[in-house]
């Protein structure tokens, strides 16, 4: 049970960490100053969430491993982040579409997770929920403005949807590890929140005059550490300094 709990924490932390890393790539490159700050703020929130779950995993594992070890010294196959967060940033429309799809998931996920029987997990979920509520509000606002914007912005949002939709199914996969934790009332059965996510996406897409895709083949495999071609490059960049100078301190 404890191994499953550690694995669960690492999964949640990995998703937040990789999303935070991707958003960090926008630093200094935002379309306007305010959005540069908004995206990097979200990135810092994500990294904060990742740290919370890594720290708890380290506590449970009770070995010499720290948050840094999980983040910087694990290889691609050990990372269990959702496939969608490792996708390319693309243009601003694609980044914000990805944010909307992920934040809508995380909103309902953390809202359910705050009822976990594990007090630490529940507290982390409660704190993360507040942050994600804002991420969802911010990204929804942009999806609506860009979708129901000019011909150009709408086309870009359609392209972004096409690009990202095949990775949305991966968020709702359940495996034995998580099912066992659900039985203990520690984890969330994500299949149960799919309906809420579908409704939110439809609500925002309708207002954005964007069609919700149907019958799209879904990519999967993140729970087994099977990733798209992007994760390797993300980790290479993120881990390079730590691996080049082991034990480095600021």
């Amino acid at each position: 049970m404890k191994d499953n709990l550690i694995e669960y924490c690492l999964r949640l932390a990995d998703t937040s960490l990789i999303l935070g890393q991707r958003l960090g790539e926008w630093c200094g490159h935002g379309p306007i100053l305010e959005e540069d700050i908004a995206l990097t703020n979200i990135s810092l929130d994500c990294i904060g969430q990742a740290r919370g779950f890594y720290a708890y995993a380290a506590l449970l594992e009770n070995s010499a491993r720290t948050e840094d070890d999980y983040a910087y010294l694990r290889d691609e196959r050990e990372f269990k982040n959702f496939l969608i967060v490792e996708q390319a940033n693309g243009d601003f429309g694609q980044t914000i579409m990805r944010q909307f799809l992920v934040s809508a998931f995380q909103y309902y996920f953390y809202d359910a997770l705050k009822n976990s029987k594990d007090k630490t997990i529940a507290a982390l979920a409660e704190k993360s929920l507040k942050e994600v509520a804002y991420h969802l509000r911010h990204s929804s606002s942009w999806v609506i403005r860009l979708g129901d914007g000019t011909e150009e912005s709408r086309q870009k949002m359609l392209n972004a949807t096409d690009e990202l939709w095949p990775y949305t199914g991966d968020m709702f996969d359940m495996d034995e590890t998580e099912m066992e934790l659900v039985k203990q009332s520690v984890a969330v059965d994500v299949r149960k929140i799919k309906r809420l996510w579908d409704e939110k996406v439809k609500e925002v897409f309708d207002e954005a005059t964007l069609p919700v895709p149907e019958n799209v083949f879904m990519m999967s495999g993140s729970r087994e550490g099977k990733h798209t071609e992007y994760l390797g490059f993300i980790l290479a960049e993120m881990q390079s300094l730590h691996r080049a100078y082991p034990g480095v301190q600021w």
């Binding site: 305010e34 703020n41 606002s141 403005r145």
Partner: protein
Amino acid sequence: MGKDTQWPLWEVFTQKKQGAPHEHAGSVHAADAEMALQNARDVYSRRNEAISLWVVPTEAIVGSTPEDVGSFFDPANDKIYRHPNFYKTPEGVKL
């Protein structure tokens, strides 16, 4: 002069704690009110500066000009009978 392609400018006022006045914190560019509010939140409340935000389109603010200073503000200063200095404060009352 070239056409300004920036979004409209909004002035941001933040309230530090309950009951305190909203104070001018700076400005943001935004296309509409909701975006202005979010941008203000992102730019001016990163480090616990606020529990409340107001955003106002800059063009809605009417201000006095330097030329007004003389006629607006000077006459008040040298009329001491306009200032509340000639009554006794009751005992125990702290100003």
